[in-house]
Symmetry: C2
Subunit: 223 residues, 2 copies
DNA sequence: ATATATAATTATGTATACAAAAAACTCAAA
DNA sequence: TTTGAGTTTTTTGTATACATAATTATATAT
């Protein structure tokens, strides 16, 4: 059957196009922490005027991906050891909440999605596709988030995850961690399936903590 | 002793002035949910051009205080029963985290600040100053947030609180609730002082739940 | 060579101009 | 009175202009 959705509203303001572009550039490391975002340069590169660039920067600023100094301009935010700690402390708490809600609310369809995701993960591992692994990993957690049915929770968790996403690219290349990552996902999946909140919470917290250790290592933070 | 801080940098970009102004107008109810934010009208009223207005709106948009429809414009966000539920679900979890951290980290000075705050609350009650009560109530929680030492947590909790702040103005006028509010603050304070995490958590959750009930009543949501 | 003052350049802050979409209005027809 | 086509007005989206602060470059004196 054909999908006749007359996509009347495929219009996106330039500011949002720019916002998505810049955000992606930051998350993939194309724009590095500390790098200046110069309006005219970006405007030329993207072929638009300064106006949408500025509005996009305002949003990135509020999202914490960019820091702005009045009359000096914006630069890509640089996360400190303290920031990382703060983000992870909050994230631990909200991941626990998410798992708790997931155990209550997840549907059979979503459980299937998780199972499928784990299979994709195995495939990506066998083909050693790091990018694929990374996006599958993100997808696994997305399913859990979605199953909570709490839009605000999803939004905040995505934002917190985003804060460290760019620093994760390095460690995800490290094949050593793939097996551990997959084992942890399976443990989490099993616990949710059994609706075993205690086990699920323990598993997710361990999962986050391991990520924290990896990121700290890669970033050269001690402790 | 004279305070010789040559406040060289008391400069604030107009966009931030506008941002604060609009935000305040929304939180105090001067701008009501559903009300349109028309750039030219606001620009004239505030005596600036559209540019800073637009940039401020972009930030309010990301903060969730305003919703924007492309080519139609922005309006003050209207919180639904579902939104309220989502916000409170997350907030409960993070308030519990905050109290937990506070029990570990709060200093004697900050405990004193809490005690002072409770005294201010009593004073405001005796003079029946509703505005005073409201700001003292906000201040009480601010002290607890601050004691966690987690900037990200503080930021998110402030944002969550903000989402319902404007709906709280009504119920704070209701003298009935003042005594309960104060009693709850005292209970929370005592528990933190004893570093009794269990009691403190229970107290803060009850406190949030009571707020939820009040807001639901005032907003005419059932359940 | 270093430091300092000054001029030239560049970037941001703000206002304004113009195009195009959306909303409001007008007025004739049912 | 309501409906609807066509027109006017308003509003947003985007680009650009101009002023001023920040940075860089230049030149001069020590």
């Amino acid at each position: 059957m054909k999908d006749i959705s007359l996509n009347i509203d495929d219009y996106l303001p330039l500011r949002d196009v720019v916002f998505n572009t810049l955000r992606n550039a930051i998350l993939t490391g194309e724009l590095q922490p500390g790098e200046r975002l110069m309006e005219i340069k970006l405007a030329n590169k993207l072929g638009v005027s300064r106006t949408p660039i500025r509005e996009a920067i305002r949003k990135l600023e509020l999202e914490g991906l960019v820091v702005n100094t009045p009359r000096k301009g914006a630069e890509v935010a640089n996360i400190s050891a303290e920031d990382l700690h703060d983000v992870l402390e909050v994230r631990r708490s909200l991941e626990a909440l998410a798992i708790d809600l997931a155990c209550d609310k997840i549907t059979d369809e979503m459980l299937d999605e998780l199972a499928t995701n784990i299979e994709s993960f195995k495939n990506a591992m066998s083909t050693k596709a790091a990018t694929e692994i990374a996006s599958t990993d993100v997808g696994f957690h997305d399913i859990i988030y979605k199953s909570t049915g709490n839009k605000r929770l999803i939004q905040i968790l995505n934002n917190l995850r985003e804060q460290m996403y760019r620093y994760r690219l390095e460690y995800i290349k490290d094949q050593e961690s793939w097996n551990r990552l997959m084992t942890e996902h399976i443990t989490i999946y099993d616990a949710i399936k059994r609706r075993d909140k205690e086990a699920a919470t323990e598993a997710i917290l361990g999962h986050i903590d391991n990520q924290e250790i990896n990121i700290r290592d890669k970033m050269g933070f001690d402790r």
